[in-house]
C-alpha cells in the first residue's frame, strides 16, 4: 500500500471535512436553538456563493471585500427566511417545518437561476495558488487555505458559544425554551440569531466549497452530505457535527479515491444507515425520552 498516497488523500479529505464540519455546525446551531431541520442549508450556501460571484466577479470588488459581504448576505438571508417563513410555523409538526425548508430550497434555486442563469460558473480565484506541502504530502492550496479560513470561523464560534453572554442565551434557549423566556431572554430574537449565525457558517463554507469546485444552481445538493454529517454526529451536538464532519469528509474522499467517484455517496450513506440502526440519535445526539 502506498502510504504517502493514502496520507495525501486523507489530508485532502480531512481538509474538505473541515468545511463539512463548519456547515454541520451551522446546521446544528439552527437545530439546537429552534428544532428546525434545515434542508435548505445547501441552497443558502449556494446563494452566498453566487453573491460572492456577483461582488467579486461582476462588480470587480477585491475578493477580500466580497467574501465578508457575501457571507453577510447569506446570513441575512437566513435571518429573513426565519422571520417570514419559519416563524409562522412555530408549534407545527416537525415534518411540516422540514417541508417548508424544502420549499425554501426550491425557491432559492429558482431565484438564483433567474438572477444568474443556469450556466455553470467559476468563482474568481482568490486563494494563493502555490502548492502546500506538509512534510512530503501535497495538499491542494485551495483546500488548504479554505480549511484554514473555515477553521478560523469555527474557533471563533466555539469560543463565542462557550464564553460569551450571547452564547449562554443561545444554549439556554436550546436547553429549555420556556425557561429561557422566563429568564427574560428574547427567545424569538435568539431564534432569528441562530438562523443568522447558522447561515453565516454555511455561507462561508459555501463560498469556500464553490471556490474549489465551481458553482451552479445544483450546488445545493451538497446539503445531502451535510445531512449525513449531522445525523451521524447527532442533530443537536456541536461536537458531533465537528467530528462527523471531518470523518464524513475523509470517508467520502477516500471512498472516491479508492473505489471510484460513484462510491462517494453510497459509502457515507452506508455509515449513516449503520448509525441509524445502532445509534439512532447519532454518535453524540441526545435521545429525548418520551412521556406518556
Amino acid at each position: 500500500m502506498d502510504w504517502l498516497f493514502f496520507g495525501e488523500i486523507s489530508l485532502a479529505g480531512l481538509a474538505m471535512g473541515g468545511l463539512y464540519a463548519l456547515i454541520g455546525l451551522g446546521f446544528v446551531i439552527i437545530y439546537k436553538a429552534t428544532r428546525v431541520i434545515n434542508f435548505a442549508i445547501g441552497e443558502i450556501m449556494m446563494f452566498a456563493a453566487y453573491l460572492f460571484l456577483a461582488f467579486a466577479g461582476g462588480m470587480e470588488m477585491s475578493p477580500w471585500v466580497a467574501l465578508p459581504l457575501a457571507v453577510l448576505g447569506g446570513s441575512l438571508l437566513g435571518g429573513v427566511i426565519e422571520k417570514i417563513m419559519i416563524r409562522p410555523m412555530l408549534g407545527e409538526s416537525s415534518i411540516s417545518v422540514v417541508m417548508v425548508t424544502i420549499g425554501i430550497a426550491s425557491i432559492l434555486v429558482g431565484v438564483v437561476e433567474m438572477i444568474w442563469g443556469a450556466d455553470p460558473q467559476l468563482l474568481p480565484s482568490f486563494l494563493p495558488r502555490k502548492p502546500v506541502f506538509i512534510g512530503e504530502m501535497y495538499l491542494a492550496p485551495k483546500i488548504a487555505y479554505g480549511f484554514l479560513i473555515g477553521a478560523a470561523l469555527l474557533i471563533v464560534y466555539l469560543l463565542y458559544f462557550r464564553f460569551s453572554r450571547g452564547g449562554v442565551a443561545l444554549r439556554a434557549t436550546a436547553s429549555d425554551q420556556a425557561a429561557a423566556y422566563s429568564m427574560g431572554i428574547n427567545v424569538r430574537r435568539v431564534f432569528n440569531l441562530a438562523w443568522v449565525f447558522g447561515s453565516l457558517a454555511a455561507s462561508l463554507a459555501g463560498v469556500l466549497v464553490a471556490a474549489t469546485g465551481g458553482l451552479s444552481p445544483q450546488f445545493g445538493a451538497i446539503g445531502l452530505s451535510v445531512l449525513v454529517v449531522v445525523i451521524v454526529g447527532g442533530l443537536d451536538s456541536i461536537v458531533g457535527a465537528l467530528i462527523a464532519g471531518v470523518f464524513i469528509g475523509w470517508l467520502e474522499t477516500v471512498a472516491g479515491a479508492y473505489l471510484g467517484g460513484e462510491y462517494r455517496m453510497p459509502a457515507t450513506f452506508a455509515v449513516l444507515a449503520v448509525i441509524l440502526v445502532f445509534r439512532p440519535y447519532g454518535l453524540f445526539g441526545t435521545h429525548e425520552i418520551e412521556r406518556v
Binding site: 422540514v98 433567474m114 445531502l224 444507515a273 440502526v277 406518556v292
Partner: protein, 347 residues
Amino acid sequence: MRIGDAKQSYEADEAILTSSTQKIWFALFLFALLLFPFMADAYLLYLGCLVGIAVISTTGLNILTGFTGLISLGQAGFMGVGGYTVAWLSANTGLPFPVTLLLAGLLAAAVGILVGLPSLRVKGLYLAIATLAASVFLHFIFAEWESVTGGMGGLSLEPAHLFGLTFQSDFGMYFIIVPLAVLMVLAAKNVFRTRIGRAFIAIRDRDISAEILGINLLHYKLMSFALSSFYAGVAGGLFAYFFRVVTPESFPLSMSIFYLAAVIVGGMGNLLGGILGAAFMTLIPEALKLLTAALTPFYPNAPIFMSPMLEIIFGALIVGFLIFEPHGLAEIWHRIRRFFSLWPFKN
C-alpha cells in the same frame, strides 16, 4: 341519514357513498373518465396518463406519510424498484402486464418493509433520513448493477400486452392506468374503513396510546410501508410501461420530493387530497406553459423565466400551503362544497 336498529343500516351507514346525490356524481365522474380519451388530443391524453400514475403513487405515499405519520423520502426509489421489475420481467419473461405489475408492487413492498425496519427505533425526521439513505442505495443499485438494470443506460421495454392485445399508444395505456388508479384509490378508501386503516391513523396521532389499545406498532408500521411501497411499485411499473424505458435518472430524489409536495398541497391524511394534489402538481408546469405562451408576444423573455419560475412556484406552493392552508386542497374543496351546499344530506 339516521341510524336505525337493523344491521342493514349500519352497513349502509358505513358505505363510501351514502347519498344518492353522491352516487350520481360519482357515476358521472366515472363516465367522464371513460369518455375522456375519446375526446382528448394526444397531449391531454398524455397528461391524463401522467396524472393517473401520479395519483397511484401519491395515494401510496399518503397512506404512509399522511395516514400513518411516517415521512418517506424514498417514494421515487420504490417506484424505481417497480419500474425496473417490470422492465426486467418484460425483457426476460413473457409474463403479461397484470402479472408483472403485481410482481413489481410486491417486490417494491418487500423493499419497503426492509426500509421500514428501522421505523420502530427511529421516528420522524430520522426515519425520513433513513428513507433518504434507502433511495441513495437504490439509485446506486440501479446505476451499478449493470447485468440486471442495464447501468446508467437503463432498460427499454416492449409494450404491455395481455391476451394478444398490445398497449402501445397512450390511448391504450390510459385504459390500464386510469381504471387501476380508480381501483387502487377505492382499495385505499376501504382500508380506512377497517381496523387496519384505523390502526395506521392511531399510530400517526399518538403511537404510545395506540400501543395501549393493543396495536403492535412495528407490525402496522411495516404494513403501512409495504402497502405504500406496493402502490409506488405499481405506479413505477406503469411508468415503465408508459415511457417504455427506465434509467436511474428516471427516478431522482426530486421525484420523491415532488410526491411529498403533492401530498402536502393536496392534504395530508386525506385520500381526495392526494388525488387533487397529484393532479394539481402535475398540471402546474403545463398551466405555466400556457401562461408563458400567452405572455411571450408581450414579453419575449418569458420562456427563459419559466423554468426558474417553476422552481419558485413549486417551492412557494409548499411553503404557502403549509403556512396558510395546512389541510391542503382537500380543505379548499370542502369549503367550496359547503359553500354551494351540493350535499344537503351529508354533514
